[in-house]
């Protein structure tokens, strides 16, 4: 898909991403984009290890309080979790397609796909809100505030502590993702991205895929296996 062909196809006479120049300390656009992508991958390492701390706490307390973990996880709503997983995976698809259309300098298609991704993210948060309110209502709260009855194991509070910390911090990352996607959407509408320059879309895409990847691990651990 050489550049010439895409320009003809989009029939645009304006030069692609006019505002983009290679930074003075990079010798070529390729090096600049590779550097950007490596930088984002390094940042994703820190995200993996940030959640890693919570996975470690989950692993340890699961092996210590196995019975309370199994009993507590029955109180999580598998259907809602499943829907959320499908929602996030489809948002991952639309995000990847958005990056692809940005590479092909299709401004409108990119904008639409980004909007769909935003919608999916918003849907994810709504489902999360429903789940949380259900838990607050039933008293399934972390640590000190755990006040639900009908538990005959000792430490369900620890399970919900880890549940709220994991899904809470993951939710915060979904919100950050939504802000980033809105920022990218505005810049797409201004026609800043094209096959010459789409690094920010790709960067936000990588971040969003990681948020989805974390949920891919969260969902079975918390909802299915417990």
């Amino acid at each position: 898909m050489s550049t010439a062909e895409t320009t003809a196809e989009s029939g645009k006479e304006t030069e692609l991403s006019p505002q983009f120049h290679v930074a003075h300390h990079f010798d070529s656009a390729d090096t600049q984009f590779d550097a950007g992508r490596m930088g984002i991958w390094l940042f994703l390492v820190t995200e993996v290890l940030l959640f890693g701390g919570l996975f470690c706490a989950f692993a340890i307390f699961r092996s210590w309080y196995f019975d309370s973990f199994v009993e507590a996880h029955h109180h999580l709503d598998k259907v809602m979790g499943g829907i959320n997983t499908v929602v996030l995976i489809s948002s991952s698809l639309t995000m990847a397609l958005a990056v692809r259309s940005a590479q092909q300098s299709k401004k409108e298609l990119t904008a639409i796909l980004l909007a769909i991704t935003l919608a999916c993210a918003f849907a994810f948060l709504c489902i999360k809100y429903v789940e949380y309110s259900h838990k607050f209502h039933e008293g399934l709260l972390p640590g000190k505030y755990f006040s639900a009855e009908g538990f005959h194991t000792k430490h369900p509070g620890v399970f919900f502590a880890i549940y709220f910390m994991m899904t809470g911090i993951h939710g915060v990352h979904v919100v950050i993702g939504m802000c980033l996607i809105t920022w990218i959407l505005r810049r797409t509408m201004r026609g800043e991205f094209s096959s010459r320059y789409y690094a920010p879309v790709e960067g936000v895409g990588l971040y969003w895929h990681l948020v989805d990847l974390i949920w891919i691990y969260l969902f079975p651990l918390l909802y299915l296996v417990g």
Binding site: M1, S2, T3, H21, V22, A23, H24, F26, D27, S28, A29, D30, F33, D34, R37, M38, W41, L42, L44, V45, V48, L49, G52, G53, F55, C56, A59, I60, S63, W64, K78, G82, T85, V86, I89, S90, S92, L93, M95, A96, L97, R100, Q103, S195, Y197, Y198, E202, G205, H209, L210, D212, L213, I216, Y217, F219, P220, L221, Y223, L224, V225
Partner: protein, 214 residues
């Protein structure tokens, strides 16, 4: 590096914003994306289905394997790792490796507590008063293998300590009669937290576990 040879005649001038050749993106066909999406949904369906069946310990392993396959699909295709510099795969691979190190080394500790000294695996029932044992703990300690007073009298190779002190002192496994200071409080009229006279049998996990000779 000697005085760096100033390449004056360097043709592609780096000095300021090289116009150089444009970046040509690597675009995948649409079918690849839709294929990955279908795989992901399919695997999600499998993992949810598998969770209803009780495989015991295998549930966790199966769920983890499926999750890792899904994660790898997202990473390799949606995140372009397959078509990208190998170093980016090393980066994300190292994060998973160090996370595994973190979890396994911490579990070296948490899984092996109480293996050398059984008592270290136990958790006191009441934090505020660790040695006022709950019943469950006392029973557990009792059938940990009582030390018969006979062993206590065995003359030790080291200077033969008079056994008498040991005999009486070593905690007989049977809950000793002396009741810990029964905190009978002539409940002050207004005292809301008047401590009810708790005949706390002071058997705590004191029957020393039959630890192995060092």
């Amino acid at each position: 590096m000697s005085a760096a040879s100033h390449a004056h005649d360097d043709h592609d001038d780096h000095a300021h914003g090289g116009h150089g050749k444009d970046h040509v993106p690597h675009v995948l066909p649409l079918a690849v994306y839709l294929g990955t999406f279908a795989t992901l949904l399919f695997l999600t369906a499998i993992t949810v289905g598998a969770s209803y069946v009780n495989f015991g310990a295998w549930n966790l392993i199966l769920a983890m394997v499926i999750a890792t396959v899904k994660a790898a699909t997202v990473a390799l295709i949606f995140m372009h790792l397959w078509f990208d510099h190998k170093f980016h795969s090393i980066i994300i691979g190292s994060s998973v490796l160090f996370l595994t190190i973190f979890i396994t080394f911490t579990m070296f500790d948490t899984e092996n507590r109480g293996r050398a000294e059984a008592i270290e695996g136990e958790k006191p029932a009441d934090i505020r008063n660790p040695f006022k044992a709950s019943e469950r703990q006392a029973d557990m300690m009792r059938n940990m293998g009582p030390i018969s007073s006979a062993t206590a009298d065995v003359a030790r190779p080291s200077p033969p300590a008079p056994a008498s002190a040991a005999a009486t002192a070593s905690a007989a496994p049977v809950p000793s009669a002396t009741v810990a200071p029964s905190a009978s409080v002539s409940a002050a009229p207004s005292g809301s937290t008047s401590a009810t006279p708790a005949p706390s049998a002071s058997v705590a996990p004191s029957a020393s576990a039959s630890a192995k000779k060092p």
